[in-house]
């Protein structure tokens, strides 16, 4: 009870909980679930963009894209490490991903169908992710908050790169412009859904708020994202595919149309366009890499034996 009281005091004072500190089991579980889900999203998120590395249309864009996908892998690494401080191993987390027990961001269950998708993922998907993640830089669990500071910094850089790539395409040929518009049409609504169900239908949020893991509501973040994005779309010269999208003077915000939550939930529940493909690809990489990991372990064991012999 004293431990709980100390924990509550830290939370109330907006302080940081550290790995060595006592924490309620539910807090630990919630964090492991959230951090590992985030880590999985980074790893699965390498695939949609990785799909275009081999075909990037210039060497500069190829280098930028590889570096970006590499950063995502790096984010995955720190996030797995942050989750490991809570007592769950990377193997356990990967196992949960591969058996379908753990989730990852549903946005990665859509295909990347033209080169502009890469830019749109930077601009809109990373943009939405940053909106979701900035509050986490102040989250109550220290290792997660610190990981998120680094992640957010790099994501902002990716977002600007994505937007810049689209700006160049929009100054290009008719085909290039059409690619950008096509990508925006396919991704816009999925990005709005990334903020999660409307607040009214979002049961986890209250406890998350209390614990300082979640700090702003889904609908508020979504509105913030839309308000920030509409002017960027205007500068870019693309149409956002929502006839109901317009400035509401009274609210001081953009109004927007109805999100297709059935489609969202179908995808979350495994029936999106690429759920099977994304997961099977990760599982395959892991299974086919087993001999590599085993070799590393076997060699390390041999080395150790040899050193012990020498020492003896």
């Amino acid at each position: 009870a004293a431990l709980q009281a100390h924990f509550d005091a830290v939370i109330d004072a907006d302080g940081k909980v550290e790995p060595r500190d006592w924490m309620p089991e539910a807090y630990r579980k919630t964090l492991v679930r959230q951090i590992s889900q985030h880590a999985h999203s980074e790893i699965v998120g390498m695939l949609p963009e990785g799909n275009w590395i081999s075909r990037a249309p210039s060497l500069k864009r190829k280098a930028i894209l590889i570096a970006k996908v590499q950063d995502e892998g790096g984010h995955g690494l720190y996030l797995y490490s942050a989750a490991e401080t809570l007592g769950t191993s990377r193997d356990q987390m990967l196992d949960a991903l591969h058996t379908g027990k753990a989730k990852y961001s549903s946005i990665f269950n859509y295909p990347t169908l033209n080169w502009a998708d890469v830019g749109v993922i930077g601009w809109l998907v990373d943009g939405a992710a940053i909106m979701n993640q900035i509050p986490l830089c102040r989250c109550s669990y220290g290792p997660y908050a610190r990981a998120m500071i680094r992640v957010c910094k790099e994501e902002s850089f990716h977002q600007r790169q994505g937007y810049e790539a689209l700006l160049v395409m929009m100054q290009g040929t008719a085909e290039q412009k059409a690619m950008v518009q096509d990508a925006v049409n396919r991704y816009w609504w999925k990005c709005l859904a990334m903020f999660g169900p409307p607040d009214a239908d979002s049961p986890n949020s209250v406890q998350g708020m209390r614990w300082g893991i979640k700090r702003i509501s889904n609908d508020d973040l979504r509105q913030k994202f839309i308000d920030a994005t509409v002017p960027q779309a205007e500068v870019l010269g693309v149409t956002l595919p929502d006839p109901d999208l317009k400035w509401n003077e009274e609210r001081g915000h953009y109004d927007y149309g109805a999100i297709d939550w059935d489609e969202f939930w179908a995808t979350v529940n495994g029936n999106g366009p690429m759920n099977k493909e994304r997961l099977a690809t990760r599982v395959k990489a892991h299974e086919q890499g087993a001999w590599v990991r085993e070799a590393a372990l076997a060699h390390a064991a041999k080395q150790q034996q040899r050193q012990q012999k020498e020492a003896a």
Partner: protein, 280 residues
């Protein structure tokens, strides 16, 4: 002075094609750390390729006869001038001057249109054999009479000094790991070593560069390369079966490639070639 354009293209194509191959693992690697390591390797190689193509492009644009020779490459030009992307994306297979070993897929010997799972042992063995060459080449090229190339060499040397231990450490783990990893590593080395024979049969561009002091006499690197290779193979408990070399010597560096490069370039160049006037 400037190194011969064809020599720069040889070095650039080596880097680009191997960088393209290594990036194929991105998202599919056996351990997350290896996805990152190979992405890094690929980034370094593509960075090297860009500097080399830029250097070549400047010379081509500045020389009427050269400009004429490359006049058929019309894509990715800027104000009519050739760019790094013109050279990377608009040359045909037979115009590429990379060593054949760079273009091979990540699996054992198969024809161009066969498909197969990727084998990380092939990837590691190639990176080892190639990095062992390039630490020597870039070291020598630091004193190239082409100052710009010397600068690229100094930068590239730092990079390949990371690539070599990465690959050789893994090759040792594989060779001296499990039975399966040993078998795969030995098969990979047996598959790839014969392609390395081509390193020691320089083409006209390499010979010209060696002669004018902008390049390196590659044949003088054979002994130190053998020493590097033998040392690691021995630590890895792997055997060399390629000496003496009998039969065909690969000729990618003089433009006669394997069946694989055509497919690699078809994919790599597809988008750029569909929009030859676009700026990205």
């Amino acid at each position: 002075m400037k190194a011969p354009v064809d020599y720069l293209l040889h070095l650039a194509d080596n880097a680009l094609v191997l960088g393209q191959r290594n990036a194929e693992w991105c998202g599919h690697g056996p351990i997350l750390e290896e996805d990152l390591a190979l992405a890094n390797n690929s980034l370094d190689l593509i960075g090297q390729a860009r500097l080399l193509y830029q250097h070549a492009a400047e010379q081509i644009n500045g020389d009427g006869a050269l400009a004429q020779r490359f006049a058929h490459l019309q894509g990715a030009r800027q104000e009519g001038r050739i760019t790094e992307d013109t050279l990377a994306y608009f040359r045909d297979t037979a115009e590429f001057r990379n060593h054949t070993v760079m273009e091979l897929p990540h699996h054992g010997p198969l024809v161009g249109y066969a498909v197969s799972e990727r084998d990380y042992a092939v990837t590691i063995a190639r990176n080892f054999l190639v990095s062992a060459l390039m630490v020597l080449v870039w070291d020598r090229l630091q004193t190239s009479k082409d100052a710009q190339l010397a600068g690229i060499a100094a930068k590239s040397l730092k990079e390949v000094r990371y690539h070599l231990p990465h690959a050789s450490d893994w090759l040792v783990r594989f060779g001296d790991g499990t039975e399966e990893s040993h078998r795969r590593a030995q098969a990979a080395v047996d598959h790839l070593l014969p392609f390395c024979e081509a390193f020691w049969q320089p083409g006209p561009a390499e010979r010209a560069a060696a002669q004018d002091g902008s390049g390196v006499d590659i044949t003088t690197l054979r002994e130190p390369w053998n020493a590097l290779v033998d040392e690691t193979l021995s630590e890895a408990t792997l055997t060399r079966h390629d000496q003496p070399h009998e039969g065909y010597v690969a000729q990618g560096h003089v433009g006669v490639h394997s069946e694989h490069l055509g497919f690699l370039l078809a994919e790599m160049q597809s988008l750029a070639r569909a929009h030859p006037t676009a700026v990205w």
